[in-house]
Symmetry: C2
Subunit: 301 residues, 2 copies
């Protein structure tokens, strides 16, 4: 599964309820990664790890359950950079990762260590071990991903998104092999423009999907013209795409063999099929476990 | 005051009880500094800061009072580097420092920000903004300072100490000015070999002390052949020095105008005076506030 954060994490979790997690591999976006307070933070990898380890905080929608905030409170008192809230439990992950990266380990290796330690059966592969940074040109100036997403709550006007470093990044051997060998490639219902596109822009990924199109299944992140969560709809509009499942279908043109769209968008099925792809209609909202499991089964079937 | 950690911190605190803290400047050892878990940690600067801010943990002898250990416990569970115990409150300091250093601030600037924020009146100046690393050649192999001190509890046989980077380090302008302009220069009762020597080896420091010798007062860290705390006595022996106040006097040869030694070593006063320096005899153990204040007054008189 080409994976962003929350949406991908939920679908991965649902897949694990239906098949052996050892059969599932996620190739994960690293465009949101940042260095803050000296620590390397990988929000999408961590969201998936925590969700699959059943440690995620469903109330907050991010971070860990049973979290405490001692360090951040002290950091705020010192006048430090405390806008990106790093919980005490969460910090341990970032300390671990930063130490191992300083030791010379790759992000792929560190991710394997963390997931193994936390009992995550799914294999998580950062798409690249190189630095990729999703940046936003906005009416507030140029923003890093987390400045845009967390500091400004994505409430700014975006004129363009740039995936800095993507073109020079090297698709990791592990991710390449996973993409080439998988029986099925799934594009998660993550934000196309800022979660999936940074994966597609790493040289090699788009080519593999074009080649393996018949095996590619995509789940639309848009339902009735709106994103369930996050700024996908607004970004589609601001960046000149149609704000609907059709807009996403066109964005992924040539890469997808089968689209899975929500029942509420059933009326669009014909228009999508007219573009030469298969369409499955089901409930794509993973509001409860039963729905998520149904979606997982459709993805697998 | 040329300062290491705990001993210097206590004498600085005592001085603040006697004179205006704004008149006191500490030039601080950075040879113990380390990068761990991605964070830059400055143990001597932090020990002094916390002690002067009255935040230090007297029971532990290091770190902060009211400390909690959530992050370290989680890091240990992840299999991370948890032998160097970083408390949750303490971590905020290291996150703050690491962020500011990444921003391009110097260690001197970061120290000024932290001390200002924590209400420390004494000016703390890292002797250099460059990297200096005190390393130990031991029967357990080559060890970094914290491996020697914390991981091995300084219970190894040391054949030599190397202050890596000292000769190339640049004495900071602020520290140089402080050393040149101070009415009195004090060598703290810190470990001569591993707390004070890394300061003296930064080019310029030794020369200033040689020049200003008449203004230099040193407090012996050795009483009746033993260190109050830490491995100073053992290191003196292993590195071929006499294990007594006389050994320390000879180690600082030419740099000190007045020695302050403990009453228990009064019998050594004549031998020290014979080396051409003044000697004051008093209680040098800062066991309680009254004793510490008495020592501070002798230092100032």
């Amino acid at each position: 599964m080409l994976s962003g954060g929350v949406g991908a994490a939920r679908l991965l979790r649902a897949l694990c309820d239906v098949i052996d997690p050892a059969q599932v591999v996620a190739v994960v976006n690293v465009g949101d990664d940042l260095v803050l307070n000296g620590l390397t933070i990988c929000p999408d990898l961590d969201t998936i790890t925590y969700t699959l380890a059943r440690m995620n905080n469903d109330d907050l929608g991010w971070g860990l359950r049973d979290e405490t905030w001692r360090v951040m409170d002290e950091l705020a008192a010192l006048g430090g950079e405390a806008w990106f809230r790093l919980g005490d439990r969460d910090l341990a992950t970032h300390l671990y990762r930063s130490q191992r990266l300083n030791d010379g380990a790759t992000k792929t290796e560190v991710t394997a260590e963390l997931t193994q330690r936390l009992g995550v059966g799914v294999r998580l592969l950062p798409v690249t071990n190189d630095q990729v940074a999703t940046e936003f040109v906005t009416d507030q100036g140029r923003l890093t991903f987390q400045e845009y997403f967390v500091r400004h709550h994505h409430d700014v006007v975006v004129s363009s998104v740039e995936i800095v470093g993507a073109e020079e990044a090297r698709l990791s051997d592990e991710a390449r092999r996973a993409l080439e060998d998988a029986d099925r490639l799934v594009i998660a219902p993550s934000n196309p423009l800022i979660s999936i596109d940074p994966i597609l822009r790493v040289p090699g990924v788009r080519e593999i999907l074009l080649e393996r199109r018949e095996h590619v299944v995509a789940v639309s992140p848009i339902i009735q013209g709106a994103a369930l969560k996050g700024p996908a709809d607004r970004l589609l509009r601001e960046l000149g795409h149609e704000v609907s499942t059709l807009g996403v279908v066109d964005f992924y043109e040539g890469l997808v063999g089968t689209w899975i769209i929500d029942e509420a968008d059933a009326a669009l099925a014909e228009a999508i099929r007219a573009r030469g792809v298969r369409v499955e209609v089901t409930t794509t909202i993973m509001a409860d476990r039963a729905n998520a499991e149904r979606l997982a089964k459709v993805v697998l079937s």
